[in-house]
C-alpha cells in the first residue's frame, strides 16, 4: 500500500490554489503590518504622523528582518550579506525604506482588503479537504481528510452545540453573549473541540484509530500516513500521524491523551477555586488576624517556585512517604466545607431541611470525599474496600494535589481582593441590616456579585493548569511513562525531534490550541462581561 499524502489525490487539484492563496496572504499580511506601523492616512486625520517618522516603522522592520536573514547565510538572503555586516545593514535599511515608501503609495484600505480576501480564500480551500474528507476514502482527501473523517463525532457535537447556542443566545446570559464576540467564539470552539474529542474519543472510543498503548512491529518511527503493517480487515489501515519510537499510533495517543488533560486540569482548577473561595471570602470579609495568617500562608506558597515545589512533592520517595495523601485529606476537605456552609447558610430555616435534605447531601458529599482520599491497602484506608467507590492511582493523585496546591493561593488572593472591594457595597450593608449571618452574606451576596472576574480567571487558570500538567510530564514527574498525556508524549518525542517531527509536535500543537482556546475564551468573556 502507498503512504498517504497530506492531501491525497484531491490535493493535486486544490494544492496549487491553496498554496498561492496562502503565500499571497503572508505577503500581504507582512506588507499590511509594515504599513500599519506608520500610517500616513486613515481615520486619524486630526494629527497625522509626519512622513519622516512614519517611514521609520517599515524601514526598521523590513530592514532589520532582512539583515537578520542575511546573517543566517541562507541562499536567497546570503547575497545581502555582502561580506560586511555594517555595509549589509545599510543596504537592508535602504531596501526597507524603499519598500516602506512603496507601501505608502497603496491605500491602507486596499491592502487590508487584500489580506482578508486571500485569508478567506485560503481558509475555504483548506476547509474543502475537511469537508470532502468526511465523505470519501482516506486516499482521496489525504491525511487531512482522513483525520477530519475520524473526528466526525466531534464535528457533529460542535455543530449541534453552536447551532443550539446561537439560536437561543438571547436567553443564555453571559454564555449567550459570547456568541457576539468572534474572539470568544473561536476560543469556545477550540475548547469545545477538545472537550468533545476527549469525551467521545477517550471516553467512548469513537475517534482513535488504534490502541494508544499498542505497539505494532514495523511501525517504529514512521512518518505520517504510513500504512499499517499486517493490517487485518477490521484494523484502520493507516497510522495517520505516523508511529512513535515505540511503534504506537501518534494520532490515537494525542486523542486519548486529551482525555487525561481535559479531566485533570478543570477538576484541579475547580478544587483550587473551592479552596480559594472558602478561605478567601472570610479572610476578606472578617479581616484581622485570620486575614494576616491566611495571607502570610498564601504568600509563602506563592513565594515558592512552582518547579521546585513539583520536584520536591512529586517524587517516588515523597509518594512512598504518603505525604500527598495527607495533603489530599486537607485540601479536599474544603469543597466539603464549602458545600456544607453554602447549603446550611441558605436553607437552614426551611422546613425539613435540617432533618432530611441536609443530612442526605452531607452524607453523599462526605462519602465521596472519603472515597477520594482513601485508597485500599495504602497509607490512608479509612473506608472498607466495599464502600470505597473509586481508587485514584497514587501518581494521578499526587499530580492532582500539586496542581491544586499551586493554584489555590492565587485564587485565594483574587477572592480576598474582590471581597475587600465588594464588602463595602450597599447590598452587603442591607443584608447585614436584615440580620443575615456572615456566611450567608459571603456566599450568597458577595460571591454571586464577583462571579464575572472569577469566571474569566477560571478559564485562564484551566489553561495554566494544563501547562503545569504538561510541565510535570515534561520532567517525567508523576504520570507513568507510557501515559499518552501530552506533556509526557512531548518529552518522549523530543529525543528524536531532529528527524521525526510528528510525535512531539502533534501533542505540542494540541496543548497549545487548547490553552489558546481557553485564553481566547477568557478574553471574550472579559470583553462581554465588561460590556454589561
Amino acid at each position: 500500500m502507498q503512504n498517504l499524502t497530506w492531501t491525497g489525490t484531491l490535493g493535486v487539484y486544490i494544492n496549487p490554489f491553496f498554496l498561492t492563496a496562502l503565500s499571497a496572504f503572508f505577503v500581504f499580511a507582512v506588507s499590511a503590518a509594515a504599513r500599519g506601523f506608520s500610517r500616513l492616512d486613515g481615520r486619524n486625520l486630526l494629527n497625522p504622523t509626519p512622513p519622516s517618522i512614519a517611514l521609520l516603522g517599515p524601514t526598521a522592520v523590513i530592514g532589520l528582518v532582512l539583515w537578520l536573514l542575511s546573517l543566517t547565510g541562507l541562499p536567497p538572503f546570503a547575497m545581502l550579506g555582502l561580506g560586511n555586516i555594517t555595509l549589509s545593514l545599510v543596504v537592508c535599511l535602504i531596501i526597507g525604506l524603499a519598500t516602506g515608501f512603496g507601501l505608502f503609495q497603496i491605500s491602507s484600505e486596499l491592502i487590508f482588503r487584500l489580506v482578508w480576501s486571500t485569508f478567506y480564500v485560503a481558509l475555504c480551500l483548506f476547509l474543502i479537504y475537511f469537508i470532502v474528507g468526511l465523505f470519501v476514502a482516506p486516499e482521496t482527501a489525504g491525511i487531512v481528510g482522513a483525520i477530519s473523517k475520524q473526528l466526525t463525532p466531534t464535528w457533529i457535537a460542535l455543530l449541534v452545540t453552536f447551532a443550539v447556542s446561537i439560536y437561543f443566545k438571547r436567553s443564555l446570559g453571559l454564555y449567550g453573549k459570547l456568541f457576539d464576540s468572534p474572539i470568544g467564539m473561536i476560543g469556545l470552539g477550540l475548547v469545545l473541540f477538545w472537550v468533545f474529542t476527549a469525551l467521545l474519543g477517550a471516553g467512548f472510543d469513537l475517534i482513535a484509530t488504534h490502541d494508544p498503548l499498542g505497539q505494532v512491529s514495523g511501525m517504529k518511527n514512521k512518518h505520517p500516513g504510513i500504512p499499517l503493517r499486517g493490517a487485518e480487515a477490521n484494523d484502520y489501515p493507516y497510522y495517520l500521524f505516523g508511529g512513535d519510537t515505540l511503534a504506537r499510533d501518534v494520532f490515537s495517543r494525542a486523542i486519548v491523551g486529551s482525555g487525561i488533560v481535559i479531566v485533570i486540569a478543570p477538576a484541579a482548577t475547580v478544587f483550587a477555586f473551592m479552596i480559594g473561595i472558602t478561605l478567601g471570602l472570610p479572610a476578606g470579609y472578617f479581616g484581622g488576624r485570620l486575614d494576616t495568617v491566611l495571607s502570610f500562608l498564601s504568600n509563602m506558597v506563592l513565594a515558592f517556585p512552582v518547579i521546585l515545589l513539583f520536584f520536591l512533592l512529586v517524587t517516588p520517595e515523597i509518594i512512598e512517604s504518603g505525604l500527598p495523601n495527607y495533603l489530599a485529606v486537607i485540601l479536599f476537605v474544603f469543597p466539603v466545607i464549602f458545600i456544607a456552609v453554602a447549603q446550611f447558610s441558605k436553607n437552614r430555616l426551611k422546613p425539613n431541611f435540617l432533618t432530611l435534605k441536609f443530612p442526605v447531601i452531607m452524607i453523599i458529599t462526605i462519602w465521596l470525599y472519603l472515597s477520594l482520599i482513601s485508597e485500599t491497602g495504602k497509607t490512608i484506608a479509612l473506608l472498607p474496600p466495599l464502600l470505597d467507590l473509586f481508587d485514584v492511582p497514587s501518581e494521578i493523585l499526587v499530580v492532582f494535589v500539586s496542581v491544586v496546591f499551586v493554584n489555590s493561593p492565587t485564587v485565594f488572593r483574587i477572592v480576598r481582593g474582590l471581597t475587600l472591594d465588594v464588602k463595602t457595597r450597599d447590598y452587603v450593608a442591607a443584608a447585614q441590616t436584615r440580620g443575615e449571618g456572615p456566611w450567608y452574606i459571603m456566599l450568597w451576596e458577595i460571591l454571586p456579585n464577583v462571579r464575572g472576574p472569577l469566571i474569566v480567571d477560571f478559564c485562564l487558570r484551566i489553561g495554566y493548569a494544563t501547562i503545569l500538567l504538561g510541565t510535570l510530564g515534561f520532567f517525567g514527574l508523576g504520570l507513568e511513562s507510557e501515559s499518552p498525556d501530552w506533556g509526557t508524549t512531548i518529552n518522549a518525542g523530543r529525543k528524536l525531534l531532529s528527524v521525526y517531527l510528528a510525535p512531539p509536535l502533534v501533542p505540542a500543537f494540541a496543548l497549545m490550541s487548547l490553552v489558546l482556546g481557553l485564553n481566547l475564551l477568557a478574553d471574550g468573556l472579559r470583553e462581554e462581561s465588561l460590556r454589561d
Binding site: L308, F474, Y500
Partner: protein, 348 residues
Amino acid sequence: MGMFILRRTGVMLLTAICLTFIVFLMTNLYPNLEKLAKNEGNFRMSDAEVASFLGNRGYTQGKLQNYGEWLGVLPGYVIEGIDGKTRGRCSNHGAIVENTGKYCGVIQGNWGFSSRFKEPVSKIVAKRLALTGKLMFWVLAVMIPSALIIGIMAGMREGSRLDRALSTGAIVTTATPEYVSGVIFIAVFTSSAVGLKWFKGSATSAMDHATLENFLLPVLTIALYGMGYIARMTRASMAEVMTAQYIRTARLKGVSFANIVLKHALRNALIAPFTVIMLQIPWLLNGVVIVEVLFNFKGFGWVLVQAASNNDIDLLLAVSVVSVVVVLLTQLISDIGYVFLNPRIRIT
C-alpha cells in the same frame, strides 16, 4: 518608607525561614535520606549500612537539631561513628579538620557542602547563578523592549486592526509554554528533518562564549512566553491612558500623535507594566529550568533539578533561599518602584 522596607524585610526573613524549614523537613524524610545515602555512598548499600551511614553523619539527630545546625544557631555535630571515625558538620561531614568553628551554619556564612557535586554550596550557587544571570539578562533585554513596543502599539489605538492582530499574537505566545515553543524552535531551526539548521540545538558552548547561533533559541523560548503577558498589560494600561482627559486635550490642541504617545502617554502607561515585569521575573524561573534542561545549559535551573533529584539537602536549601529571595525582592522593588513612578501613592 524606611519603616515599610524594614517591615517587608522582616516578613521576607520570616517567609524564608518558614520555607526553608519546610524544604528541610521534606528532604529529611527517611526515604529521601536513604536516597542521599545511596547516592553518596554506594547505590548498593544494605539497609543497615544506610542507617549507619546516616547516623555517622548526623542525619538522624532530630529535625530541629539539624535545622538549627544548618541555620547556625546550634553548634555543628561532632559524632564518633560506629566505624570508629569521627566526623563533624563543620568538616563537610568528613573527618574532623582543625580550625573549623564550632558553629557552621548560614548565619556564619557557611551554606554547607553539596553531596552531589562535592563542592561548597556557595561556590556552586554563585557560579551557576552567574550563568543564569547571563541568560536572564538577554531574556529581559529581548522581552521587555519588544513587549513594551507591542503593548504600546496595540494600546495607542484600541480596537484597531493593528491592535487586534498584536493582541491575538500576544495571546498566542502566552498560550505556548516553553516546552512547546522550545520543541518547535528546535524542530524548525535546528533539525535535519526541516533542514534549515540556522541555529544550534545545544547551548552548552554558550556557557563559555554565547553567540547568536547558540544562544538565540533558549533566550527566545523564555522571552516569548513572558512577552505576551507583559504586552497585554501594557496594552491595557496604554489604552486606559489614551482615553484620559489630558490626552484628549493635547490632541485637540494639535499636538502630533507621535508626540502625544511618546511625551504624554508613555510615562503614565508604563507604571502598570513595571509592576508586572518585576512580578514576572520569578515566573521566569520556571522557563529557566525547562530551557536549561532542553538546551543543556548548566545554570541555576539545572542545579535545581540536580539538587532535587539527588536530594542534595544543603544545595536544595540554598536554591530555595535564593528563589524565595528573588521572589520577595522583586515584589518589594515593584512596590517601591510603584511609589516612585506614581506620585499619587504614598506608602507609610
